[in-house]
């Protein structure tokens, strides 16, 4: 008997297929008709006009959190990144010193013993509040938790429900969750979430297919134990949902990769990983086996370094790149404590306690979850609701947002469901084109890419672009040739497939995918935990490897996987085509605001940028040199 249990998957039938694929059964789905009551409350700023238009911390609303904490037995405060959770923990202690001793911090970089202590204390009801990250999303249930606060967008309905469900965990009781917006427009998301919960719209988990990186890892794992016979394992692998479409050619290429190491100069090579001994594929080298054991897993994080007190005592772990930027006597925050960096010794960062008020908070990377498609759709509906003049039953959040939405309307336009808003704005940074499809970050990245590509065919031009869940921005040093006369053409479905192909090659999307793939596929060696000396001669970066493979071995399996993942997960032709058709069928509104609008502001301040160019490199360098001359 094989069971799968889930509370928050939208595509149950497909999930069942994935689960049962290896045993070739059809199975049944049992759905309990228990309706879990969830009460969602938004936390509002007193004056929406004064609440920031962009941001991700939400500390301005911290005073509003205190009565919520006071009013329930235990409260979990979910923060989207570890760095921000450190800030919240400190800020809470500053505004309410009496919380000292009854609140705690819980995230993945905190020492495990401390995390377990927090979890025990939660069970026993000893804590008033715990500031946590996804580290408390799953698996553990604490009866004393009566209330949950979500700071910032949860980015998806399923995750929001998951977190809400941490409170009122007994049958029959109500889950109480508060949504605290980190910038004003985020309140729209609260309205969208409420609607999605009401209509029971939950995200699908789309199964990934033909992940060669994971297969390489699996085969290496078999090879470090008793070894494997390809004929036997090929049959086994093919029974899984993920690899049922694998071809014999692909399989052979993988075997070739792990035994011969792909392209090589035959006479001058001593590649060694998996060896074939009497037909059995095995790893015999102890160091290679050990290195593999250390790297088993598919959750990729940056290389970490231990943090210890000079006087002894372990604090936690921190990203190596963060420590690398510190100078001795710099103060940073970890585990809710201010620590002075002293030195690196034996691959450990040595610190001492600091009383300094100022400290650097590590900004853990990651934390850029895209809004799910479902939430995007809900958001568009809510926006439509906002633009209805005579609707008396608008969501509470939209009523609160009215002054901001009015300003958007006054400066530019408030788009209806069938409208796509485009804003041309000129600032000292250059010429901006803002487009708001409200489709979520991933789709926006693809759209920005295709639009930039199409415009770049009109004239030699260079773009840097940024996006959030609401829209995207193309920024250039020259006017962007988009107007009434060509805009429908730029959003047309014609030549879509070819344009997707070409634009994917001219951006960084595949490079970013390759970052995880190269680690899972065993190409990046991150060092042993606790090692005294780094294996320096094996140091490498995913970015360098991406360049090397692209130039010298473009057919490499793992590079191909990176492009396939971009095409399937992000640049999916059908989804883009549907969206373009939706835009074509509706109306495109182009405005020329004199000032930055509430919609554009959060995108403009985002520093994570992509680029695309059709200018000659020499021309770009010449322009930059001229600029250099002007600046100095």
């Amino acid at each position: 008997m094989l069971w799968g249990i889930s509370a928050t998957i939208g595509n149950l039938t497909q999930a069942k297929e994935v689960l049962l694929s290896p045993i070739n059964e059809t199975g049944v789905i049992i759905i309990a008709k228990v309706h879990k009551k969830i009460a969602v409350h938004s936390i509002y700023p007193d004056e929406i006009e004064k609440y920031p238009w962009a941001g991700h911390l939400g500390l301005k609303l911290i005073e509003k959190v205190l009565p919520i904490i006071a009013g329930s037995r235990t409260t979990l405060i979910f923060i989207n990144t570890r760095g921000m959770s450190e800030r919240w923990y400190q800020a809470l202690l500053e505004v309410e010193p009496e919380l000292s001793g009854v609140i705690a911090l819980h995230h993945g970089s905190i020492e495990q013993a401390l995390r377990l202590w927090v979890e025990d204390a939660l069970h026993e009801g000893k804590l008033k509040a715990v500031i946590c990250t996804a580290s408390l999303d799953l698996g553990v249930d604490f009866r004393p938790v009566e209330t949950v606060i979500q700071v910032g967008s949860p980015k998806g309905v399923a995750r929001f429900l998951q977190r809400a469900g941490r409170s009122g965990h007994q049958p029959g009781s109500v889950s109480e969750i508060y949504f605290l917006p980190t910038h004003s427009l985020e309140l729209m998301e609260a309205a969208a979430l409420k609607q999605a919960i009401k209509e029971n719209i939950i995200e699908s988990k789309v199964p990934r297919l033909l992940c060669f990186d994971v297969l390489i890892q699996y085969l290496s794992t078999l090879a470090i134990s008793d070894g494997f016979l390809p004929a036997v394992i090929f049959e086994e692998v093919k029974t899984t949902y993920c690899y049922k479409e694998i071809t014999l050619d692909e399989w052979n290429a993988i075997l070739h990769f792990i035994t011969e190491g792909g392209n090589a100069l035959q006479a001058y090579d001593d590649y060694k990983k998996v060896e074939i001994i009497d037909g059995l594929y095995k790893i015999t080298n102890r160091r290679i086996a050990m290195r593999h054991r250390m790297h088993i897993g598919t959750i990729v994080s940056d290389a970490m370094m231990k943090v210890k007190f000079l006087s002894g005592g372990y604090v936690g772990v921190i990203e190596e790149w963060f420590i690398a930027r510190l100078n001795p006597s710099d103060v940073f925050t970890l585990s809710g404590r201010n620590l002075e960096f002293v030195a690196i010794k034996d691959m450990t960062a040595m610190v001492r306690r600091s009383v300094s008020k100022k400290s650097i908070i590590p900004s853990w990377q990651g934390g850029r979850m895209p809004l799910s498609a479902n939430l995007g759709m809900m958001l568009r509906q809510k926006l439509d609701e906002a633009s209805e003049e005579n609707n008396q039953n608008k969501a509470e959040e939209i009523m609160v947002l009215a002054p901001l939405l009015d300003l958007q309307k006054q400066l530019s336009h408030l788009p209806k469901k069938n409208q796509l808003l485009i804003e041309h704005i000129e600032t000292k940074d250059g010429f901006h084109l803002f487009v708001y499809p409200f489709e979520g970050r991933l789709v926006h990245e693809s759209m920005a890419t295709i639009l930039a590509w199409r415009i770049s065919k009109i004239t030699p031009i260079t773009f840097s672009f940024a996006m959030n869940d609401y829209g995207f921005e193309l920024l250039s040093d020259q006017p962007i040739p988009v107007d009434d006369s060509n805009v429908y053409e730029l959003f047309s479905t014609e030549n879509l497939f070819a344009d997707i192909q070409r634009s994917v090659n001219s951006t960084e999307m595949a490079r970013r995918k390759f970052r995880d793939i190269s680690v899972i596929g065993g190409l990046i060696f991150q060092g042993y935990p606790g090692e005294k000396v780094k294996a320096r001669h094996l140091q490498n970066s995913a970015s360098l490897l991406f360049n090397v493979f692209t130039e010298y071995d473009p057919g490499n399996l793992l590079i191909r996987q990176a492009y396939v993942e971009v095409m399937e997960q992000q640049m999916e032709e059908e989804r883009l085509r549907n969206m373009l058709e939706r835009i074509q069928a509706g109306e495109i509104i182009i405005t020329f605001p004199q000032h930055l609008t509430p919609f554009c502001f959060p995108i403009k301040v985002d520093s994570m940028r992509e680029s695309l160019t059709s200018e000659k490199l020499e021309d770009r360098i010449r322009k930059m040199k001229e600029q250099l001359g002007k600046d100095t």
Binding site: F257, I258, G261, G262, N263, A264, L265, A267, Y268, D269, D270, Y271, K272, K273, I283, N285, R287, I288, R291, H292, D429, G430, F431, T462, F463, S464, L475, S476, D477, G522, L523, F525, H537, L538, N540, S541, L544, L545, V548, F549, E551, Y552, D553, N556, R609, S611, L617, E618, R620, I621, K623, M624, K625, Q627, L628, T632
Partner: protein, 217 residues
């Protein structure tokens, strides 16, 4: 690859090549840094399958540069080899046999850890810290060099790169030759290497390597 720019120091002509090395006309010497030969081999021996084509291309580029400038000697300012010996070194030895006339001096870098005998067999003269030739000093890591009055230093080690930024949040990054008033840093010759962005101050001169061309910034 045959693009170069002349840079003059103390009336000596240094031709900075887009092939990531310097030809010193007066001495008919090719100055190179951070070749990291054997790096792909080292990775492969440890089960990490990087393509060796990049190493082959490095060797071919070296040949092309020697022939183009008709160099009679090589001055390598460190990190000729990446790590312990592996089979890729045999390709280098084969190359060495084709260029027996070439005098090779290596200023030992932090990666150069092969046995003395190995260098002797390859007919490479090893210099442990720094080499002086006229008013010029050659060393691997400038930070560990003892400077001599009125002398100019050539070094490597950091794999310098330059970041150019323009309007509209645009930026570009290239490997570069980095010249200050008292010392120069060469880009890494080997292509399987990372980069470190340098922050030039007034009076420094940079030459960027972009798409097989070299340009002064």
């Amino acid at each position: 690859m045959n693009d170069f720019i002349k840079h003059t120091i103390f009336n000596n002509s240094f031709l900075l090549s887009a092939g990531r090395c310097i030809f010193w006309e007066e001495e008919k010497a090719l100055i190179l840094s951070d070749l990291h030969f054997g790096k792909t081999g080292h990775f492969r021996k440890n089960g990490i399958a990087v393509p060796q084509t990049i190493f082959k291309e490095d060797i071919q580029r070296l040949t092309a540069q020697v022939q183009y400038f008709k160099a009679e000697q090589l001055i390598i300012v460190g990190d000729l080899f990446h790590s312990h010996a592996n089979k890729e070194m045999e390709l280098f030895l084969k190359w060495r046999n084709d260029f027996t006339q070439l005098n090779i001096q290596l200023i030992i870098g932090n990666h150069d850890i092969l046995a003395k005998e190995w260098y002797a067999e390859a007919n490479i003269t090893c210099i442990s810290d720094q080499l002086q030739s006229g008013p010029f000093i050659f060393t691997h890591d400038k930070a560990e060099c003892t400077s001599v009055k009125d002398c100019y230093i050539f070094s490597g080690h950091i794999h310098p790169a330059v970041t150019l930024s323009g309007n509209a949040k645009q930026s570009l990054k290239f490997p570069c030759f980095y010249f200050t008033k008292t010392y120069a840093v060469l880009p890494a010759f080997g292509r399987f290497t990372g980069m470190h962005t340098v922050r030039p101050v007034k009076g420094d001169t940079l030459y960027a390597l972009a798409q097989n061309k070299i340009m002064r910034l």
